[in-house]
């Protein structure tokens, strides 16, 4: 009986051992699996942390998070057994609402920054510290005429009139050529920018394809590619007004000025420039269709961004400055000639009148550029007319009449003297610059706070990453411990049978 009992006991023990062994292995391998996967998960955590740290200062980067999820439990012997965790996905911290705001703010900031910069450059031409402004030279010229009125018979006063006249002409020409140089500079930048825009549109279209391919059928987001595309969109919006939406494949469709389709799927339009002979050979901006054929001239349709203000400064502000300068040159030269023709000169010219002082100006558009002395004055200062009567070297009546032009309201339909007109149009440029500066400062603050909001969500904090690193490292160590522990347990079991 005893034997029987012992025998059956032994048998039972053997069965139990077998059972245990069988299940111990399962249990052991299960934990090994969980440990191994956890090792992989935590290593990925450290990897992502290091990726974040490496991109702490990268523009447009959004911090990434490893999202762990509990595996579905195993059902065994009416038990639901925990099954460890796995990496569900890696996501970026991103707030689409802030991003959209930022794109809008970028448009406004691009516009006001470009306006400010271009206006500041133009403003330099009229800097009050320059001594050779048109207004200063005009004052000096009238001063010379005044000396002529004092000593009409003197060679030296006539030479002074000639020299100051030359300076005045040079001042008109300087404004003309400097404004044109600035305008040409803006024009070249526009041409350059069309190339940049074409490149970004192409890159966005390429990213569209890459993103849709990477994301297909997966829960993953192509974080880094999306960051890149967001940055491109934001930079694009600095240049012009755009609107965009994302389709279900994650591809971005972008519309530009006048709602022209710019990017759809992997197709992108390109921006080109072409000379417009009606606008002094300045460039027009042309959008092509997806096949690359010219489609629309959008020069005047761009509603925001730096393109808009550059075109505005080029076509409105600079043209206006040139026009004012030309009108002043033409009005002054012709009015001066009108009086000058009534007068007699000295010596060889003492008995003749009807001479112009400046070469008569007929075309207002090139008035400043072509302003010069008449041939008579160029050849001899005796031709300068100060006298109203022949053979009268002391006669200064014409000189006095010329002098009265200083206060004659000859501009703005007889409402402004030369100096007033100059002060007004230069003052207007100053006011416009101040306005652009203020708008730019306001946009700086707006965009700054939005960027701050974006950074608050998406930016990398090294402290946080350091803490994360410790977290993952600790978890990694713990997982390693799980594996060594299981290993030891298996050793124990295997050592049962000697």
């Amino acid at each position: 009986m005893m034997h029987q009992v012992v025998g059956s006991y032994l048998l039972a023990e053997g069965i139990l051992l077998f059972y245990m062994l069988e299940h111990n292995y399962e249990w052991a391998f299960h934990s090994l699996n969980i440990g191994a996967e956890s090792l992989y998960n935590t290593r990925q955590g450290v990897d992502t942390t290091s990726h974040n740290m490496a991109n702490a200062q990268t523009e447009g980067y959004s911090r990434q998070r490893v999202n762990l999820t509990t595996r579905d439990p195993l059902s065994k012997r009416n038990l639901l057994i925990g099954n460890g965790s796995y990496i569900k996905n890696i996501t970026r911290s991103h707030d689409q609402f802030v991003e959209n705001q930022l794109v809008k703010a970028s448009s406004a900031k691009g516009e006001s920054d470009a306006a400010k910069n271009e206006l500041l450059a133009l403003e330099e031409i009229f800097n009050p510290e320059l001594a050779n402004s048109v207004s200063d030279e005009m004052n000096s010229f009238f001063d010379a005429i005044n000396s002529l009125a004092n000593f009409p018979e003197e060679l030296s006063t006539r030479t002074t009139v000639y020299e100051q006249g030359k300076n005045l002409i040079a001042a008109f020409k300087r404004v003309d050529s400097e404004v044109k140089r600035n305008r040409d500079g803006i024009n070249d930048s526009l041409a350059h920018m069309t190339g940049e825009i074409t490149d970004s549109l192409r890159t966005i279209a390429d990213l569209n394809i890459q993103i849709s391919q990477s994301e297909v059928g997966q829960q993953n987001q192509a974080n880094d590619l999306r960051d890149k595309r967001d940055l491109l969109v934001r930079n694009l919006s600095e240049k012009m007004d755009i609107s965009y939406y994302e389709d279900k494949w994650g591809m971005l469709t972008i519309r530009g000025p006048s709602d022209i389709l710019m990017v759809e799927g992997n197709s992108a339009v390109s921006f080109q420039y072409q000379v417009n002979s009606d606008n002094e050979n300045m460039y027009d901006i042309i959008i092509t269709d997806f096949e690359g054929d010219p489609f629309r001239n959008v020069t005047d349709a761009i509603g925001a961004g730096s393109l808009k203000s550059m075109i505005d400064v080029r076509d409105r502000v600079a043209s206006n400055l040139l026009k004012n300068n030309n009108v002043m040159a033409m009005t002054f030269a012709n009015r001066f000639n009108e009086i000058h023709r009534d007068g007699f000169g000295l010596k060889d010219f003492r008995e003749s009148r009807g001479r112009n002082f400046f070469d008569p100006v007929t075309d207002v558009d090139s008035a400043a550029k072509n302003l010069q002395f008449s041939l008579d004055i160029e050849n001899s200062v005796d031709a300068i007319a100060a006298a109203s009567t022949p053979n009268a070297p002391g006669d200064n009546i014409i000189a006095n009449r010329l002098l009265s032009l200083r206060n004659e309201k000859m501009l703005d339909d007889g409402n402004a003297t030369f100096t007033e007109h100059y002060a007004n149009y230069v003052g207007n440029l100053g006011i416009e610059t101040v306005r652009a500066k203020h708008v730019s400062e306001a946009n700086d603050i707006l965009k700054g706070s939005l960027e701050s909001a974006r950074e608050a969500v998406s930016g990398v904090s090294l402290d946080e990453e350091a803490a994360n690193m410790i977290k993952w490292q600790t978890a990694f160590t713990a997982s390693s411990k799980v594996i060594t522990t299981v290993d030891e347990m298996l050793e124990t079991v295997l050592s049962l049978k000697r």
Partner: protein, 299 residues
């Protein structure tokens, strides 16, 4: 709120940039002593400054006109009083010689003195200021009188602007001074030099009636010369007053311009100090702000 690295760096650099900009702006004001250094500093004031500059320039040329005019008028005045003195002397001689006590010999001796007076008067009539003959009308580069006293100039009146739309005639019309004008001729008057010549000739010819006639004529011309002197004196006073007005006008223009564009030095200096302090403390704070990180404490 989360604070990310870029946020911290950008806030720091933004603050430093702003502090630097303010500091360099106030340095600029301090260095140029001007509030307005570019157009956009204050466009409205700038347009005022441009207009003021033009007015100041105009004011200076009026003042230069006046200084020149004063010289011209002083020359005229000297010449007129010289001519007056010579006429008085001639008249004295004529009255003395009209006395029967003198014989023809002493009269012809006096005639030589009168001839000398004629030379002097012609010379005075050809007075010039800066090589401009003051009595020649517009023909300023040639003498007003020939050696025998004929008027060679014209009737041109030289006007100079001494104030806004205030022109003054600065030359004395030689034809009226040395005459005779057609009116005077009708009344039987001679010209100024001719009157002296009549005296000289009458003395030479011992012609007492001629001497009496000359005395009358000299009296007539003396009156004329002194009336011209009065006119010139009045012109001189008028432009002198204009000059004083211009002086005070210029002072107020310059003051106004200075108010518009010049920096208040106390404010500029304290602004500079203030912005400098802000810049330094911003730099200091940024340095401290950017230093600590958890990474520094992980060993």
């Amino acid at each position: 709120m989360r604070v990310s690295e870029r946020q911290r760096y950008e806030t720091a650099t933004g603050r430093i940039e702003r502090a630097k900009l303010n500091n360099s702006n106030s340095l600029n004001v301090l260095a140029t002593q001007k509030r307005i250094n570019t157009l956009h500093d204050d466009p409205i004031a700038m347009t005022q400054v441009i207009k003021k500059n033009s007015q100041i320039e105009e004011n200076s040329s009026f003042q230069r006109n006046i200084n020149f005019t004063k010289g011209f008028i002083e020359t005229t005045e000297t010449a007129l009083s010289g001519i007056g003195d010579r006429l008085i002397r001639a008249k004295e001689l004529a009255i003395a010689m009209a006395n029967d006590n003198y014989d023809s010999k002493s009269r012809s001796a006096t005639a030589r003195e009168v001839a000398e007076i004629i030379n002097e008067v012609v010379q005075l009539g050809n007075s010039n200021y800066n090589n401009r003959f003051v009595f020649s009308g517009f023909r300023t580069s040639s003498p007003a009188l020939s050696q025998d006293g004929n008027f060679l100039g014209d009737d041109g009146g030289i006007f100079l602007q001494i104030e806004d739309s205030n022109y003054k005639q600065i030359n004395t019309p030689g034809r009226f001074l040395f005459g005779p004008t057609p009116d005077e001729q009708q009344q039987g008057h001679f010209g100024l030099v001719s009157s002296l010549e009549v005296l000289r000739d009458s003395l030479n010819e011992d012609d007492k009636q001629g001497i009496y006639k000359a005395i009358d004529e000299l009296g007539f011309h003396l009156d004329k010369v002194s009336s011209f002197q009065a006119t010139v004196g009045a012109t001189f006073n008028a432009i002198d007053q204009a000059q004083q007005r211009l002086e005070s006008g210029k002072t107020s223009l310059v003051t106004r311009k200075s108010e518009l564009e010049d920096a208040d030095m106390y404010k500029a200096t304290s602004d500079f100090k203030r912005t400098e302090t802000v810049l330094q403390s911003t730099l200091l704070a940024s340095n401290k702000l950017l230093q600590p990180s958890l990474l520094n404490f992980m060993q």
